[in-house]
Point group: C2
């Protein structure tokens, strides 16, 4: 780990003490979001120190012009970038005419941030001695409403402590925003207009090119010691800025409080011409509830989320804090309410990546959403890919594939590719397999096959076509090979016969063929419709199967393992344990070529295949492959420790499983990879959830039944989790003494416990 300033707490993320060099990291860690928008934990008041300003509106993007050193055919001209959105949190504060700025204060004491995950709010309090020697106490609390997801609220209080003071509070909106991550230093927003009406203000701006229009709004009230003041604010406005200035004399130890209700309404959800009306309606609702009322709805909404999604860990507060942080952030990023959205790798906490959708969604996130939300949410994530199928076919076309073959983009927002390293964009094609696997996984878990005839089969056929065309015949091996790929381990580029990719390709073709048969047999109308659309002949199907049945898999007789790729054994096989610590992380210490020719593995690759297809291998095979590959794995991807934690648990290596668990669950809190200031690793947080439920809980689905093999780390007294499974909510309580299962409802449910049939006992709901 690289930091340990976050105070362990079961329900909150807490920072105490003001350290300017931690500001950017804490801005990430204390981020808030409600699925529709999100913000880094920037200060409300002016701050002249180092900060990374970030506010984001889900689904609003900008196609930034591609920047490369050397163009390669097939690169996309534009990238959809997550956009830094207008700022509505700003409140400038003056005390006796002097600007409050934590960077210039003579002293900052009792500084404390808290992100209360149970109730869904974020607070910051401090006492500051200003350059003019005024000492003020500030308390700021804000949240983004889950219930009214276009709005948020801030309560910002200032108390002069060493004398009466004239306090100026200047809440403002600002739309003249620049992105930190821009390829050509262009502006992405065009400010359109600012209007005001009493204590309300509206600033409208439109994204360039994509023409999303967002009306950012605010309404403010001010009180002193709880007594509302009917101040008429002085207003200042330009095209991209509007502020309201409240000036008030405040007696020593009295408190002036500003309530700022604010948010966005956008053309994604409203008619452009009626945005201000829509904003007024939102403001009517939230000001009607008042700050406390709105906050109560927030607590209620989060209680509902936790009711289903919480995992408790007894006896290990850091582990408890870690898992809740992961679950909380996942729910802040994506609620499943809008099927146009997906789960960006940084959520609303940074801008490092273009696009919002990676294979992370299918490989890591779907199990979490499937088990902790209504199954419609997972279905909606699958539908997102179906909606982008045409674009995936176009994308494959750019790379020379024909006949409806689809290659889903590595990174996307709208179905178009948003990445431009040839070794990733063109070669990390295993992502296609994860999308097919997610369909399988969804059907296996939910038992809802309807997605397949309605949408999934078309996706499966297009993916199978891709694999069929992408494999080539090697007369040398007398087998089909897949040349020139990058596997999940991105520390290998342009390799031949990556075992994981070949295995997935084979599986995808078989799975597609199997489902074609099923749909043909049981869904005649769908079959006719789909076949009419995709024009798949028996000959083509035979050709597919020929490829799948004759796929080449690199194998080492000596080590009795599948090889990650051709030639893996030619490397200098020095394990990570024998690598000088000063050389790590290798992605910061070594040049790219050196990484490539080393044996070091960024994240599960062959083992990712063993994770997906665990049933198809014996535990001995898993153990052999784990023992062969894990020692070369540097876990320099956030997606790595979770898979290894699960497999270590399966192999009953509990200490190792626990170490990996801490690393995945506290990756950002403890900043293992020295990059938390850039934002959080949202998608891997779903992997953390899996490492508890699938690793320690040993949960699987077998023949339509849930099965469990609970194993408890020595450090824990016990843990509980809940899963939503086929209309049952099952609670699992694992202790050192044993495991108990309860089911919400009035019927018992049969499950498998350590291979034996067992019963989850029904409990009558008390609500």
């Amino acid at each position: 780990m690289n930091q340990d300033y976050i105070i362990p707490d079961n329900w909150s993320i807490i920072e105490e003490g003001f350290e300017p060099e931690r500001v950017c990291s804490s801005e990430s860690l204390f981020s808030i979001g409600n699925g529709a928008m999100g913000q880094r934990a920037n200060f409300e008041e002016y701050y002249s120190g180092k900060t990374f300003q970030g506010s984001y509106i889900a689904g609003v993007y900008y196609p930034d012009k591609t920047k490369v050193g050397w163009w390669k055919n097939g690169y996309p001209e534009y990238f959809a970038k997550v956009l830094n959105a207008p700022n509505w949190i700003g409140i400038n504060v003056k005390v006796n005419g002097e600007m409050l700025d934590l960077n210039t204060c003579k002293a900052v004491e009792e500084y404390r941030r808290e992100l209360n995950m149970k109730e869904g709010w974020y607070s910051r309090t401090f006492k500051a001695k200003m350059p003019n020697d005024m000492v003020v106490k500030v308390e700021a609390l804000r949240f983004l409403s889950l219930q009214e997801d276009e709005a948020g609220a801030i309560k910002y209080s200032v108390t002069p402590l060493n004398g009466d003071a004239e306090i100026t509070l200047v809440p403002y909106l600002h739309t003249g925003i620049e992105n930190k991550d821009t390829n050509w230093e262009e502006k992405f927003w065009e400010p359109l207009s600012v209007t005001e009406s009493g204590v309300r203000a509206f600033a409208t701006a439109r994204t360039l090119k994509t023409k999303y229009t967002a009306c950012t709004f605010m309404s403010n009230t001010v009180d002193i010691d709880g007594k509302i003041l009917s101040l008429v604010p002085a207003s200042e406005n330009t095209t991209d800025y509007v502020s309201h200035t409240y000036v008030q004399s405040v007696a020593a130890n009295s408190t002036i409080t500003l309530y700022k209700y604010a948010g966005y309404v956008t053309s994604m959800n409203h008619v452009v011409d009626a945005l201000e009306d829509a904003a007024n309606k939102v403001l009517d609702t939230v000001t009607g509830l008042g700050f406390d009322g709105l906050l109560q709805t927030q607590k209620d909404a989060w209680a509902k989320v936790w009711e289903m999604a919480d995992i408790t860990i007894d006896g290990d507060v850091k582990a408890q804090q870690g898992i809740r942080f992961n679950i909380f952030q996942l729910n802040q990023t994506y609620t499943g309410a809008d099927d146009r959205l997906n789960i960006g790798p940084k959520g609303f906490t940074g801008e490092k990546y273009g696009g919002s959708t990676y294979w992370d969604t299918e490989a890591y996130c779907i199990p979490f959403y499937m088990a902790t939300k209504d199954e419609k949410v997972a279905r909606s994530l699958l539908k997102y890919r179906y909606n982008q199928l045409d674009k995936a076919i176009e994308n494959a076309g750019k790379l020379g594939f024909t006949n409806g073959a689809a290659l889903y983009p590595m990174v996307t927002m709208n179905g178009e590719e948003c990445h431009n390293e040839w070794e990733i964009t063109f070669e990390e094609i295993h992502r296609n397999g994860a999308i097919a696997f997610a369909i399988f996984n969804y059907v296996r878990y939910t038992g809802d096959y309807s997605y397949v005839p309605e949408m999934g089969l078309e996706v499966l056929i297009a993916i199978a076509r891709f694999w069929h065309q992408r494999a080539t015949f090697s007369t040398n091996h007398n087998k089909y090979v897949i040349l020139g790929v990058t596997g999940p381990n991105e520390y290998e580029n342009n390799v031949n016969n990556n075992w994981y990719t070949n295995y997935l390709a084979q599986w995808c073709i078989h799975y597609a063929a199997e489902n074609i048969e099923k749909i043909k047999a049981a869904y005649g109308a769908d079959y006719a419709r789909i076949m009419d659309k995709v024009q798949l002949s028996e000959e083509e199907l035979t050709d597919w199967k020929k490829v799948a049945d004759n796929m080449y898999f690199p194998y080492s007789e000596e080590h009795n393992v599948f090889l990650q790729q051709d030639g893996f054994l030619d490397k200098e096989l020095i394990t990570v344990a024998n690598l000088d610590k000063s050389q790590r992380p290798i992605n910061q210490k070594w040049s790219w070529d050196r990484i490539l020719r080393s044996p070091y593995i960024k994240q599960a690759d062959t083992l990712q295949g063993f994770y997906f297809f665990e049933d198809q291998f014996t535990k001995e095979e898993l153990e052999r492959h784990f023992d062969f590959y894990e020692p070369f794995t540097v876990h320099e991807s956030s997606l790595s420790p979770c898979v290894h934690s699960i497999q270590a648990a399966v192999l009953n290596r509990m200490e190792q499983a626990y170490t990996f668990y801490l690393r995945t669950s506290r990756l950002d809190l403890d900043d293992y990879n020295k990059e938390v200031h850039e934002g959080l690793h949202i998608t891997s947080m779903a992997g953390t959830w899996m490492s508890v439920v699938e690793g320690f809980g040993g949960m699987r689905v077998k023949d339509g039944m849930l099965s469990f093999e609970p194993r408890i780390p020595e450090q824990w007294n016990g843990f509980t989790f809940k899963v939503n499974f086929r209309n049952h909510v099952l609670k699992v309580n694992v202790t050192k003494e044993g495991t108990t299962f309860t089911v919400d409802g009035d019927k018992d449910v049969t499950i498998l416990l350590n291979g034996e049939k067992a019963t989850a006992k029904a409990v009558l709901k008390t609500t």
Copy 2:
């Protein structure tokens, strides 16, 4: 080929007829240079049509900030870029107040460009009917002086044909130049000042960052029908521009002629404060000679170049024009006069590549300069690399190499790397081998061993150290392997055990070790000095040899050939002949991944090794490898056809050799690769020379003697070439009847002709 508008001529490049879409291509083809500077054949007068303006000063560069999509550790922060330099050719022309602009003329007739290679000048003539219906005849002739290499001259004549006219001639200098090839759209020049003195003007500008100061100057005279006018020009100037305006009434069919003497003096060769003085001195000299006098020195200087470098081809004017074009451009680009310079891949004809020095210099250019110039020129090219050895060691250090190992940059100007694709920059390491090979080649040809103890051995040791460290031991093969490289065939990236690279690595180590022994035995003082500097132990030397002696070479028993790299046989081995023509050139039609997994070879790779080390293989081995690899070769590099032409000739496949010869010699004239508008392929032109001398002439050096195996293409009656060899100038005259050899001087020289000793007969020089 993609164009055929160049009129075949033995000594000139000629274009007839004005076609706006050919302007950019012709600007490349008619480029002029004198080693110290060069220019694209831009029009003197204003042109509003599509043009690519380019003037270049040898050695003046700008470190452009690197632009990449995704940064990889080890990339250089800055790239030395060839710089578009101030423009001194400009002459605006008005006729009765209307600007002459070929793009807006009602008619352009008798348009003709000629690049007279024999005499070293470029002319352009045309008749234009202007929008105001004035018809004028224009004749422009210009050259860059070989003798006074800081100056050039233009003679620009205008004749009104259909009536008297007021002609305005405005010669100007302009330093506010922008580069076409800039990463961040920055300006590279900072204009400093403009001064004038009578008919002379001086515009001084400095490159940003590198701070090269260049004073661009001009002096003009005007005559009518040969009678000099003592006009005092009106002057206009700003910081980056100065013009002199001459206005004169000219009777119909009278001719007004402007003589513009101009050029650059720079801080590379003069004290910054005295640049204007230096410019005045140059102007004194060239105006003293006058246009005709200076042109006569030009003809004399080029006659001297051709005296040594010319190749005549009898009976095939296109082949003759091609080879002379190649020899002419090489001499325009690099004269050997300045050891700080090198041979840029585009010479002074474009900006496509950063840097000036590639492995092309060592692998392709040195033989040409060695045989057609004093041997000091080749020695100077070797010294250039010695001077950059420290930077090459630093460069290797960035990639993790230690102990004085050197990796020369892929592209460079000042010794620093100027390229940023990891697969090239970090992996195309065979360049290091070409640098060692050039030392061997130089010693073999010239017999001058002195470079080795003086400088070369340090280079060889540093390169051997690199290979020793770069190879790793594979327990799998029980051999040393070289993983993750790009060979000369850049259509493969990050491959293992590229045969060419492994072979070169082995050879480099052996050659370094052998020379260490030689120097130890015969150059004691040098040995002591070098060993003191490099601290090379016997143990290290033993380790080197262990690597070299146990190098792994991929081999196919089935085909009885060395494999280009591991796994080559797993590809779909469809020959180029069986590839649909619509798919070519693949680098324009296919995405990068598709190119990579195809078997197609951009340029000689394994065959490059057979070219370098021809002696180490039998003709049968060459034939087998040629037959295996050539059918997969798409020749999409300018460096490809020449090697294949030589090898086809060796194998006595004369028709194939001839086809490759035409392709290499007329690559730019016929625009095979659809890119001549970007500039010429200068370095491959030396390969064309080799394809005549080494291919058809069959010239080799064996045991310190020249040997020849002449073979003549059916299309030719005969051909001649001259080579400078160990203080003899040998002329070879190959006809269908036989080959004769003459030597300048009074002594006969023994040579080998088809393996038998023969005599080159001395001739007494008549000059």
